[in-house]
Symmetry: C2
C-alpha cells in the first residue's frame, strides 16, 4: 500500500516535471484563456461535482457549506479572474538587469519559471482555479492539494486545465509526505493554512517551502493618535472581513492615551458586532468588554473577536508584537512621523502600515495584481506572492570568446 | 552532554537574534571598517593561531596546508576585501519599488536584513572574514561554522568582529544539528560544500536553506563552432583555476564536428596538463585520452581532469546536461544565435553563457561585487549571492487614514 502510494507520488511529480519543461515552449497566456473557456463549457459538470461535495458535507456549518458552494455567479467570477491572470504581463523572459562588462560580456539577469509548484490549501474551490492559472501563466507546473471536502469540485475544475501541467494531488497524507521528499522534482511547496498544516509541512519537507502562515495582525494606537482615524481603521481592519489573514486580531493602545482612546474606539467595534477581549489595564475602560484569556494574545480569531491591550509607549508595543506577531501585517496610528518610521523599521512583518488599515496587505490593493497568497517566510517572497514571485532569476551571459585572465 | 550542547546552540542563536535587532540601528559600514583595523592590529595573534592549526595538520597534503596557511600578504588581502565590502552601497532601506495607489496610499517595497544567517563551509580562513563582513554589512548577524582544521585561525579572526553579531559555531555535529532546528531564531542557512555536507543539512534542517552545491559545469561545442574560440574557452574554463566551482568538468562535442574539433581542442588541454576522460565516441579522436569511468560524468573533479563526450546535436547536449548538470553553470560555443538562445533557454542553470568561459559565473565578474558563494537553489537567489541576496524586501505603506471598502 505505502509503496504503491510512493509510486503514485513519484509519478505525479515526474509528469509535472516533464510538463514544466514543455511549458517553456507553450503560449501560456492562451493556455489560461483556454482553461477559462473550458470551465464555462463544463459548467454543468462542475456544478454537479459540487453538489456531490455538498451532499457529503451535510451537517456542516452554514459558513462551511457557503465556502464550499459554487453557482453560476461564482463560476463567472472564477473565469473572469482567470482571464485577468491571462492578461497580466508575462514575467518569463523579463530582463531584470542588464550590463555590459569592460571585457565586452553582455550580462543579463532574466526571469525563468521555478519549475514545479506544490500548493497545499484548505479553502474555497476558486483557489484551485486561481492557483492553477497563476502557476501556468508563470510557466510552472502545478500540483494542487486542496481539502478533501472539495475533492469532486476541485477535480472537475482541475480537469479544465492542461493535463500534467495541472494535477490534483489526492488528499492522502502518505502521498503528500512522499511528495515533500522529492526535492529533485518539486521546486517549491506553498502551504497556505493554519498551524497544524504548516507544522506538518515544516517537519517533513525536504523541498523548499514558503509558508503562508496565519496573520496575527496588530494595530498600535500611539499616544498622540487622531482617535477618529484610529476608530475608523480599527473597525475596518477587524470587521470589514473578519475571516481573512490580514484582518486585525489585536488592538494595542498606548497607556497615555488609553483613557481617551478606548471609550472612543471600543463602542464602534462593539457596534460592528465585535467581542472585545481585554487585558487587565484595558478592561475597566471598555464597556461590555470581557477579560482576555492568556492565549487570546497571539491568536488568529478569524472571527468578530479582538484582543485589546494597553501598552507602555512604542517600546511596549514593539515588545508585544515581537512576542505575539506572526510576521504578517502590523500597523500604527500616529501623527508623529519619527515614531511611525521607528515602528515600521523595527517591527518584523511582511507589510507595515502607517495610518492605514491592515486589510491593505493584499496583492491587488498593493498594486501587484492577483496573488497566490501572502508569504510570512522572508526568503524569496515576503508578503503578497503574485506571478513575479513564482519565478526565479538566472544569469544569461553573451560573449564573443571571452576567457578569464 | 547532548542537552548541554542543545543549550549551547540555543544560546548562540538567541544572542545572534538580539544582535541582529541591534544591527538595525548601528553604522554597519563602520563596523566592517573597524573589524579590518582590528585584524591588522592583531596580526601577530592571528598568525600564531594559524601556526597552531598548521601544526595540528602536519602530514596533510601540501595543497591542504597551503589552503590553511595565512601570512602577512594574505592578511592584507583579507583586510582589503573587508574594506571593499564596507564601501559597497548599503542595501538596507533601499526602495526597490514605489507607487501611489488611487486611494492615496504610498506603497514602497523596501530592503531589510534577513536577520540571522548560519553559514557552513570548509574552506580557507579568509571565508570567515568575508562571510562575516558581508553579513554585517547587510545587517545580519552571522553564525559561522568553518572546518575543524581551521578552528584556531577562524576563532581568532571572528574575535575581531563585534561579539554576538559574529559568532563562531564549534565544529560539533550535535550543535549544528540543533541549530538547524531553530527556525524561530535562524532565518537562513547557507551550506557551501560537497555532497555529504549538503545532504546532511538538507535532511536535518527546518530552517530555510540555500544550497551552494557543486558545479558540474559543461561546455557544448556545437557543430558550427569556431574551433579556435572553443579551444581557448575550454582551456580557460578547465585549467585557469581547476579547484573552483565554476571550472569546467565536462566537454560535450557535437558529433558532426567531433572529428575536426577534438583533434584541435584536446592537445591544448593536454598541454595545460589536463587528463581527458573520454566516452566511447570521443576516445578514438583524443590522442592521450583515457576511457572515462561511468561516474566521471556528473562528477566535480576540482582538478586537472575533464570528462569528454560526443553528443548528437543540441538535443543530445540538453539531455546530457539535464541528466548530469548541477544547475550551476553551462556554456555553449556556436555562431548560430538561434541555437544559442535555445540552449540558454532550455538548460536549467544559475548562469548560462554563450561564447564565454564558465569561469565568469562569479559575483565580481558579473559586476555584482563581493559574493558569499554561488547558489544552486532557485528560490531567493540563484547564482552569485552578494549583499543584496542577504536581504529580503517588505512592504512599507504610508497613508492618512485609508480603510478598505
Amino acid at each position: 500500500m505505502t509503496s504503491e502510494l510512493k509510486l503514485a507520488a513519484l509519478e505525479l511529480a515526474q509528469r509535472a516535471k516533464v510538463a514544466a519543461r514543455e511549458l517553456l515552449r507553450r503560449d501560456r497566456r492562451q493556455l489560461v484563456l483556454d482553461a477559462a473557456d473550458e470551465i464555462e463549457q463544463r459548467e454543468a459538470d462542475i456544478l454537479a461535482a459540487n453538489e456531490m461535495d455538498l451532499a457529503r458535507a451535510e451537517g456542516e456549518s452554514l459558513a462551511f457549506l457557503d465556502r464550499l458552494r459554487l453557482d453560476g455567479k461564482r463560476l463567472r467570477d472564477m473565469t473572469a479572474a482567470l482571464r485577468e491572470v491571462a492578461e497580466l504581463p508575462d514575467p518569463i523572459g523579463e530582463v531584470v538587469e542588464s550590463r555590459t562588462r569592460p571585457n565586452g560580456l553582455r550580462v543579463e539577469r532574466v526571469r525563468a519559471p521555478l519549475g514545479v509548484v506544490l500548493m497545499i490549501y484548505e479553502s474555497r474551490p476558486n483557489v484551485t482555479a486561481e492557483a492553477a492559472a497563476l502557476c501556468l501563466r508563470s510557466g510552472n507546473a502545478a500540483l494542487l492539494r486542496g481539502g478533501s471536502e472539495a475533492l469532486q469540485t476541485n477535480a472537475s475544475i482541475a480537469s479544465c486545465f492542461p493535463q500534467d501541467a495541472v494535477q490534483l494531488v489526492p488528499p492522502d497524507r502518505t502521498i503528500l509526505d512522499e511528495l515533500l521528499q522529492l526535492s529533485e522534482h518539486i521546486d517549491l511547496c506553498i502551504p497556505r493554512g493554519g498551524l497544524s498544516l504548516i507544522r506538518f509541512i515544516a517537519e517533513r519537507a525536504r523541498v523548499p517551502v514558503i509558508k503562508h502562515y496565519q496573520g496575527v495582525c496588530h494595530l498600535y494606537v500611539a499616544a498622540d493618535a487622531d482617535l477618529e482615524m484610529a476608530r475608523r481603521i480599527a473597525v475596518n481592519a477587524k470587521a470589514q472581513r473578519p475571516g481573512v489573514c490580514n484582518a486585525l486580531e489585536c488592538l494595542l493602545v498606548d497607556a497615555r492615551a488609553a483613557a481617551q482612546a478606548l471609550p472612543r474606539i471600543a463602542p464602534a467595534l462593539r457596534e460592528a458586532g465585535v467581542e472585545l477581549r481585554c487585558d487587565e489595564r484595558a478592561l475597566p475602560l471598555v464597556q461590555g468588554g470581557v477579560a482576555a484569556m492568556a492565549d487570546d494574545f497571539g491568536r488568529e480569531f478569524l472571527d468578530l473577536k479582538l484582543a485589546v491591550a494597553v501598552v507602555d509607549g512604542i517600546e511596549g508595543a514593539l515588545r508585544h508584537i515581537a512576542r505575539y506577531g506572526s510576521r504578517h501585517t502590523e500597523a500604527i496610528v500616529t501623527g508623529d512621523a519619527r515614531l511611525a518610521e521607528r515602528f515600521m523599521n523595527e517591527v518584523d512583518a511582511s507589510c507595515v502600515l502607517w495610518n492605514a488599515s491592515t486589510r491593505f496587505n493584499d496583492g491587488g490593493e498593493l498594486g501587484l495584481g492577483a496573488e497566490i497568497g501572502i508569504s510570512t517566510s522572508k526568503l524569496h517572497a515576503y508578503g503578497p506572492m503574485g506571478l513575479r514571485e513564482l519565478t526565479c532569476t538566472r544569469y544569461v551571459v553573451r560573449g564573443d570568446g571571452q576567457v578569464r585572465t
